[in-house]
Symmetry: C2
Subunit: 251 residues, 2 copies
DNA sequence: GACTTTTGTTCGTATATCGCACAACATGGC
DNA sequence: GCCATGTTGTGCGATATACGAACAAAAGTC
């Protein structure tokens, strides 16, 4: 690609959108400038453009995104049949298990939730479609990494900031690669409070008819409610059932 | 806003993203150019930029969006606590009713789904968070329009293409305004196959503690399963219960 | 209230982008 | 093969945009 085939104004604008997030629902021009590393004048122009187009609101001081911004993600979600196909199965799975169930795909070093059926239980993590978690310490992430050639999985791990979110988080690349081999062999991954204390989960790959892994399915449960060691016993049959039901329906 | 405060390259890029959709998961440069009305050279630069940033894949002929594009909508979903708060209540509501339940907000002339709990039933419409429907012929749209000052609701209707999706669709602005008054009085809206034959729904507003309408909740059901006339009788108590439970939790 | 610090806005200029016209390539009909 | 049609890639002049710095306006600080 030639240099002139890159629209940097567009790229900068996308960076500005991404500056909004959980902790930053409202951004001033200066805050957005700090978070993006772009010049205040540039950020201001991008934000005013978003506001002019109805993607953002501006009260003279702070900018907030509007629901119109969902049109952008919608273009992907509606273009990709996976979320719509999976959703009712997740609902059923979640109901049977009495726990939250989700589906996700890999994007770089992170898993992205594409569908989710949540239970009423209170969790510190609020997950909705579009949410992201680091792959190395999430059950679906382990399953999705295990589906890749080992070299590629290593490459992704090398790009990841392997942070110890809890004392139990595995952060050694070699240990993680060994774990991925185990996941590949047994066909599922169990996470015991590696992302957050008190949270366990179990995931299986979602394959299409040709055996390609297209996503991952999981069930998450509070550790106080279900010990990690019991996860496979209690939920693996349900997950396998859902996996089998979906196999002929995807891709 | 001065003219130079608008980044047209950014605006053009966003238009290109929106060109992708249900019927267009893969776009060539020429197709995207036709759909957006932008010059091919411009579209090409935007698409190559998206590809360079990892928001799109390019096989030399067609572009497809990647899950990374969800980061953009995620900035809104995670910044807005509504979806996460509402989701478990929708799941419960959907389970009790045995039908799909959803929450949405108004964006221009359309309602945007921000959360949804779907049931296994097959519908021709695939709705996921981010999906959009015209407000005038959707139950949540009626509720949200009814919450606005009448002049504003009229203004939105005047901007809407009032299309008769089915023989039952109300398309006369005056009739719609009268319907909105009724909805405002009774506190709920019922749609009987105005969007699609065979599909009925009932919606109530979701208010915060100060009484402001922040979203709408609905239950949709196949007409073959539940007659529109029975909707209020069967589901209104459940909807009111959910509405009351959420009232102190939102905003 | 005077001072410092931070934030928002404006401006001139160097630079990047746009849209056009044309070249290059692919596809299909005959 | 050869033209008709449709597509993608590229060079260029005109135009729009980004940058940095300077200025203006708030917001803290003492």
């Amino acid at each position: 690609m030639r240099e002139t085939d890159f629209v940097s104004g567009f790229a900068r604008g996308l960076t500005v959108i991404e500056a909004f997030g959980e902790a930053q629902p409202r951004l001033s021009i200066a805050e957005a400038s700090k978070r993006t590393g772009l010049d205040r004048a540039t950020v201001r122009r991008s934000l005013l453009t978003l506001s002019e187009l109805g993607y953002a609101d501006y009260d003279g001081k702070f900018f907030t995104l509007t629901p119109k911004i969902l049109r952008l993600g919608h273009a992907y979600l509606s273009a990709t049949p996976l979320p719509a196909i999976v959703q009712p199965y997740l609902d059923q799975l979640s109901e049977k298990a009495g726990q939250s169930a989700s589906a996700s795909v890999l994007d770089g070093t992170e898993v992205v939730y594409v569908a989710r059926a949540s239970q009423r239980r209170v969790m510190s993590i609020n997950l909705v479609p579009g949410s992201r978690l680091p792959a190395y310490c999430a059950s679906m992430g382990r399953v999705l990494l295990a589906a890749l050639p080992e070299a590629q999985a290593r490459e992704i791990l090398s790009r990841t900031e392997l942070k110890a979110n809890t004392p139990r988080t595995k952060t050694d690349p070699e240990e993680l690669v060994a774990e991925l081999r185990k996941v590949r062999e047994q066909g599922y991954a169990v996470i015991d409070q590696e992302l957050e204390l008190g949270l366990c989960s179990i995931a299986v790959p979602l394959m299409n008819a040709r055996g390609q892994v297209v996503a991952a399915l999981n069930i998450g449960a509070p550790a106080a409610h279900v010990a990690a060691a019991e996860l496979a016993e209690r939920y693996l049959p349900l997950l396998k059932e859902t996996q089998a039901a979906l196999r002929p329906l995807v891709q």
